[in-house]
Amino acid sequence: MGAKKLLIISGFSVNVKDGSVSRDLKSSSPVGGAKKEILTGVDFEIRKGETVALLGPNGAGKSTIASAIMGNPKFKTKGSIKFYDEKKGVLKEILRLSPDKRARLGIFSSFQNPVEIPGISTTEMLRTTLEEKTGKFVPLDDLREEISDAAKKLGQNVWFSERELNVGFSGGEKKKNEILQMLILKPKLVILDEIDSGLDVDAAKEISKVLAKYQRESGCSYLIISHNMRVLKSLKVDKTVLMKEGKIFAVSDGEMVKKIEKEGFNTVFEQFSGVSRGQNE
């Protein structure tokens, strides 16, 4: 592949700060007050325009990776994350950058549980964000038009984004609102953490189409975490990163997604290592 590298993660480890438990880990091994490494020595990379599926059983550390790439301040991180800085034309170390600085370089991560912000509409939030980013006044009418187009693609009307940000939204509406924001903010790396949970089959298919179209137009890369894989429908998966117990188990091609869908994680783990392992959840 001749495409340029967009993201390089190497020797990346994550500790939970102050005994807080990451959502991903709640179900498997509570860490209590002690510091525990929840990701160890993670290495992988994403090229421009690539779609990468991040797979693994519950508790493998997938959401932690997604959240740590975005710069979640509750994690203590080690190692290196480099991201392509388009303005300077170089790969830039972002490990110590705040989430907003990462976002401005072009990283976007959807939240599994988008936060409700009372009293502020999605439009208002996006406008403030764009104005702060560009230092320029963003005319409300122009932005509304753009939002209206984006909302239509998601089967919503413009009023969708005039509502208070995520307040009282259904699970599906929250997910659509994440995609809407992505379409307006135009990121280069889009991390989607369970974007299809809470969506019905048809809606997931529609979103998959929207994602494919955005990728064609923008040349963005995707890092996708999904249990039911519905969101991958219209996308061509270039790479599979398989995780287990906080480590990268294997990096493979796009075919791996189908194999896992068919045979399950354990069979794949066994085939790779040749050793029978116990049920991981």
Binding site: R102, A103, S109, V115, P118, G119, I120, T128, T129, E132
Partner: protein, 462 residues
């Protein structure tokens, strides 16, 4: 500087001199002396934040200039206001606002009203808008509640009757040394479509401002009054102890909006009270910013069947500030209705206290009250307390209250930052959302002013 006469300290001589200067009738002089007596007798309530002490930053009444007369006469044209004072009001946007969308404007500089003007069109409808001192002596005739009387007689009947001089220590002080403020009378069934505004600027360091606002809205009339207050920064303590009394007659509607922006050396110990008769309504909108200590609890007495009260307030307690704020409502008649909402923010080591009290008397059958105090703490070290209280003296009434004290969650910050907002902008956005219910109630310029005040207070929070 524009300072003519000023009096420091507080005693009988000062009060007699002040009363004489203002050429007041005897009843007013007696009221002042009675105020002085209660000032000396009354104690501060046990729960009140500390205000008195020695030292420049504390309130030491002997050091406060009780009366500061700017060396100008009251005029009704901005062109005649001395340049230096005019500049202050220009910067506050008052003359501009008057042109664009106000029915009339009063402007007070220190202890005296220096500008007062009511648009001709509004004057013709019978609206009376006068500096308080003039109203005390005015022989203009009006008909109120079917009775023909002079403005001065009306003032005598209503002045400090809702807030009597023995109500509390600072009401007593106010009675003793009040100066400036506005009198408003809105005639029966008249709708004043655009608001009137009085603006109070306390400019002299180490002084007090004690303006008195008396508003009488006759039957079926509707009216919006806006009060603005500000002061520049000094190192010595200043005192603001104004009083607002509002009489809302049968089926009348009154809206009273305030945006107060005091400097951080101000003791803002203000009293506001309204009484609402049958079918009448009052709506309070209050934005309270700045000051070292604020104690302010606008009170409404719902005195007639079906009377309504709505209160919406926002406060911001920053570094070294105590903002003790809230609202009180007395349901004294059947089917009365009240809804009280406060939002308070605290930052740095600021302390915000929201006190709300609804009292439902045995007469208030079918009364309904709902109160909600929400507090948002912006950082560790800032404090907030919400104290909602309902005293129900009638079984056939409904009361509900909610109170919450929250912090800006790390999760919300991370969410907004992940979209590209800096931490500071993310905090500001959350705060804007928290107070949005109030901005929406204000005329657009005031909403903008309030948002700017919040923005200024937020600077350096991240």
């Amino acid at each position: 500087m524009n300072r003519g006469v000023s009096y420091k300290g507080l005693d009988k001589t000062l009060i007699l001199e002040l009363s004489q200067r203002k050429k007041e009738p005897k009843w007013m002089r007696d009221l002042r002396l009675s105020g002085l007596k209660y000032w000396e007798e009354l104690e501060m309530p046990k729960w009140a934040p500390k205000v008195f002490d020695k030292g420049e930053e504390w309130l030491d009444i002997s050091r406060i200039e009780m009366y500061v007369k700017p060396s100008v006469e009251m005029v009704s044209s901005w062109d005649k206001v001395p340049v230096e004072i005019r500049k202050t009001f220009d910067e506050l946007g008052i003359p501009e606002a008057e042109k664009e969308g106000l029915a009339g404007v009063g402007a007070q500089y220190d202890s005296e009203v220096i500008y007062h003007n009511l648009k001709e069109k509004v004057k013709k409808t019978g609206v009376i808008y006068l500096p308080m001192e003039e109203a005390v002596k005015s022989s203009e005739e009006i008909r109120f509640k079917g009775k023909k009387q002079t403005v001065s007689e009306l003032v005598r009947e209503y002045f400090m009757k809702l807030v009597p001089e023995n109500d509390h220590k600072f009401a007593a002080l106010h009675a003793a040394v009040w100066s400036g403020g506005s009198f408003v009378y809105i005639p029966k069934n008249s709708e004043v479509e655009i608001p009137l505004q009085s603006y109070y600027r306390l400019n002299a360091p180490g002084s007090g401002q004690f303006e008195h606002t008396l508003i009488i809205v006759d039957e079926g009339a509707s009216f919006h009054f806006i009060e603005g207050c500000s002061a520049p920064k000094y190192n010595v303590a200043n005192l603001h102890a104004g009083t607002v009394e509002i009489y809302v007659s049968k089926n009348a509607k009154m809206k009273f909006s305030t945006v107060e922006s005091w400097s951080k050396n101000m003791y803002n110990l203000n009293t506001k009270r309204a009484i609402v008769e049958e079918g009448g309504e009052i709506e309070w909108i209050s934005g309270s910013f700045g000051s070292k200590v604020t104690m302010l609890y606008p009170m409404t007495i719902l005195n007639g069947t079906g009377a309504k009260c709505k209160y919406t307030g926002v406060t911001f307690a920053g570094e070294n500030q105590i903002i003790d704020n809230g609202a009180k409502v007395v349901h004294a008649a059947p089917d009365t209705y009240s809804i009280l909402n406060t939002k308070s923010l605290s930052k740095g080591n600021g302390i915000s206290v929201s006190r709300m009290l609804a009292k439902i008397t045995p007469k208030a059958k079918g009364a309904k009250t709902f109160m909600d105090c929400k507090s948002l703490i912006l950082n560790e070290g800032a404090k907030a307390e919400a104290i909602p209280e309902v005293k129900v003296g009638c079984m056939e009434a409904e009361a509900a209250h909610e109170a919450s004290v929250g912090k800006i969650s790390e999760e919300a910050l991370f969410y907004l930052q992940s979209r590209g907002l800096s931490e500071e902008a993310a905090r500001a956005l959350i705060v804007r959302g928290f107070t949005s219910g109030i901005s929406k109630e204000l005329p657009v310029e005031y909403a903008m002013e309030m948002n700017n005040l919040i923005k200024m207070e937020m600077e350096g929070t991240a």
